[in-house]
């Protein structure tokens, strides 16, 4: 178990030389960013991490001005101990995912005061996320040992209620996502192994406390930085020790900062929609042992009967489980396509079947091209892909050709594959929605739709053949997790690419000046779930009230289905309800949203600016008195009312 060394990342053989190069670099800022991200994706110890962070911070202003500027997130750390030594590792973990993390550390032990005081530096900082970290002594009271279970639970409930009040302040006053660290169980047993049988004994108390914390987090939609779990993985005395606590009030040793920083970096990236979404698997010696083309269907090693066969099977089962939670699976293998199909259909021990893969690239072409085609066919960015291949040459080629693809170092033996993938944390989640569970079915249904599209002779015939039903209306409480997920991960069909967290989307539902539109789409191939989100705000500063479309985005899975026309009808309806006379829209160009440059023109909006005036940024308007609803005959529109 090598978690502390970030063992899934490749070594940085020439670290010193590359740091020297970066320091003296006169390279353009995009090359500088590429160099920094590349080094951040190496297996660095805590001193190397600190040195890389120094260069990153020194050149930050220049980096943030550049075209290659990473996404940004502001993190406030509120802790009862010292956390400053974790900051370089947190920032490097962000950089690893092309995320620039700006950190603010509240004065030692002052988190409650900072949260309560609207004039505090914390409020001025306006964090997107707040990490609350409380050590065992600060979190859990010392109780008289004779208290029974009920009394102990009442004490814990009081503490949890106090914490939840702080979470509420962070959520409502700061509009921030709360990340609560679980309490590290450093309590020393006074009863030995009998400890957990005595409710008021500290060891037992901390366990109950963490359990109650988990339940409260689920109720309040807070995230958990699960250090207690991490300690269970690597050993609590490796994570930190008493010398560091008494000497420097560090719960986590500087040596473990790269690991803890990465655990947090994953969550920050997930908040920004930067978690990976698709696992691309090699086949020979990755999903089974041996080479299918040479050894034949009977010769490959898979399944019960041998240790290696069971190990490959366990890895397939882990991949299957990932797909059940919404991670899309794909194959990239140099093999004969028919032999592979036959193997999946006929080998009795396969846990994965052909229908578990949303894309199959089985041919003799180079793998970087295969991954580009997979990304394209699934409408995903390359940074959404993880490439898992036992062949080191393929991994090196992939890293050099497509640096945005995540490429873990695959362990030497298959019994370690699944753990490697789990430890690397590519698929960190901040929510789990019904749509996640249906994802693979949706991609498979999409393949069927494409077949129909190929057959249909005209567009209208194709659309009518789909039997589409759109369910449309304001955001509902139940859908906020999926709505927020879509807001944070949609890059292509996204007019403004503004990101909001769940606290913010929730606030929109109760603000009468904000119009929200959420659209679900069903068709004869299945339920696509929530696929489009639009947000508009009433601007009453002008002579006549106008609705400003703040955000408009859609999943590319349903491109070309005229969903945007249905959404426009709903936006107009809600704008009229609020007394607006016009709708205004804007397009903010990014590296990924060229697709929608003409979106407003195509819907009949008139330009307010020309792109030449303003770097491609354009503004548009539509008067509402002459707007007629579109009434598309191939759409059944159902209004989901407030």
């Amino acid at each position: 178990m090598g978690l502390p060394e970030l063992y899934w990342l490749p070594h940085a053989e020439d670290f010193d030389a590359r740091i020297r190069d970066l320091k003296q670099s006169k390279a353009s800022s995009s090359d500088l960013v590429a160099g920094l991200v590349n080094l951040a994706n190496r297996r660095l110890d805590f001193l190397q991490t600190t040195r890389l962070d120094r260069i990153f911070q020194k050149r930050l202003a220049e980096i943030e001005q550049s075209d290659a500027a990473p996404a940004r997130i502001k993190l406030a750390l509120l802790a009862s101990g010292t956390v400053d030594h974790l900051l370089p590792a947190i920032r490097v973990a962000g950089l690893r995912r092309r995320l620039s993390v700006e950190c603010y550390v509240a004065p030692y032990g002052q988190y409650a005061q900072e949260l309560l005081n609207p004039a505090s530096e914390l409020h001025g900082f306006a964090p997107d996320a707040v990490l609350m970290s409380v050590d065992v002594a600060a979190a859990v009271p010392q109780l008289p040992l004779e208290l029974d279970r009920g009394q102990v639970e009442a004490e814990i409930a009081t503490r949890i209620a106090e914490l939840r009040e702080l979470w509420r302040l962070a959520r409502e006053d700061l509009r921030a996502i709360v990340i609560q660290q679980t309490v590290l169980n450093r309590a020393l047993p006074i009863f030995g192994q009998f400890e957990s049988r005595v409710p008021a004994a500290s060891g037992a108390l901390v366990r109950r406390f963490n359990l109650a914390l988990t339940e409260a987090a689920a109720a309040d939609n807070a995230l958990l930085l699960d250090l207690d779990w991490c300690a269970g993985q690597i050993g609590i005395n490796r994570l930190g020790d008493e010398m560091l606590w008494h000497h420097a009030k560090q719960e986590v040793s500087p040596a473990m900062a790269p690991l803890v920083g990465d655990l947090l970096g994953r969550q920050l990236a997930a908040i920004r929609g930067l978690s990976q979404k698709c696992l691309v698997l090699d086949l020979d010696n990755t999903l089974w042992g041996g080479v299918l083309g040479d050894d034949g269907l009977e010769g490959i090693v898979l399944g019960q009967g041998s240790a290696l066969g069971e190990a490959y099977l366990a890895f397939q089962r882990y991949a299957k489980r990932l797909s059940e939670r919404g991670i899309v699976l794909a194959v990239s293998s140099k093999n004969d396509a028919r032999t592979v199909e036959e193997a999946f259909q006929r080998h009795p021990e396969m846990a994965l079947g052909l229908s578990d893969f949303a894309a199959m690239e089985v041919n003799w072409e180079d793998k970087p091209s295969a991954l580009q085609r997979i990304a394209e066919s699934l409408n995903l960015g390359l940074n959404a892909l993880v490439f898992f291949d036992d062949n080191p040459a393929e991994r090196t080629l992939m890293r050099e050709t497509l640096p945005d693809v995540a490429v873990p170092e695959v362990p030497d033996s298959p019994e370690h594959y699944a753990r490697c993938l789990a430890d690397a944390g590519y698929f960190e989640a901040v929510s789990f929605t019904a749509d996640d569970q249906r994802r693979t079915q949706q991609y498979v249904a999409n393949r069927e739709r494409k077949k129909l599209e190929a057959k249909a002779t005209d567009m209208k015939g194709f659309l009518s053949g789909l039997d589409m039903e759109a369910r449309i209306g304001p955001f509902s409480q139940l859908d906020l997790a999926r709505i927020t997920q879509l807001i944070n991960k949609t890059n292509q069909f996204n007019l403004t690419t503004r990101r909001y967290n769940e606290t913010e989307t929730e606030a929109m539902t109760t603000d009468p000046s904000v119009a929200t539109v959420c659209t679900r789409l069903k068709d004869r191939f299945g339920d696509n779930g929530i696929i489009s989100v639009a947000i508009a705000r009433l601007d009453e500063s002008a002579d006549e009230p106008v609705m400003e479309i703040d955000s408009w985005l859609m999943s590319c899975r349903v491109l070309g289905r005229k969903v945007e026309n249905v959404v426009l009808d709903e936006l107009v309806r809600q704008a009229r309800d609020r007394g607006a006379v016009a709708l205004r829209g804007e397009y903010i160009p990014t590296a990924r949203n060229e697709l929608v440059r003409q979106h407003y023109a195509e819907l009949g909006f008139a330009p307010l600016t020309t792109p030449e005036q303003s770097n491609g940024h354009s503004r548009w308007v539509m008067q509402l008195d002459d707007y007629r609803p579109q009434n598309l005959e191939f759409f059944k529109v159902v209004r989901a009312d407030d």
Partner: protein, 82 residues
């Protein structure tokens, strides 16, 4: 490990911690000689040394250190004790 090898290894750690290739330690070097030698970097030096030399320091040993000479003597005694 000889005393001079310990100095060399420690010098490497200091250069990494302070990102300064010009650092050259003597027995008299103390926190006041290196402006960035604050409590944060102090802990980093201790932890990096624990990893490098394969030893563990305890709180009472760490309290008593006045300069690099003291620290090298502490490391040497730990290494000798095995």
């Amino acid at each position: 490990m000889t005393e001079s090898e310990t100095y060399d290894a420690l010098n490497g750690i200091f250069r990494e911690v302070f990102d300064d290739e010009g650092i050259s330690l003597t027995p008299e070097t103390a926190a006041s000689d290196i402006p960035e030698w604050d409590s944060f970097n102090h802990i980093n030096i201790l932890i990096a040394s624990e990893i490098k030399f394969g030893v563990k320091f305890n709180a009472s040993e760490v309290e008593g250190l006045k300069n690099v000479g003291d620290f090298v003597r502490l490391i040497q005694s730990k290494l000798a004790a095995g």
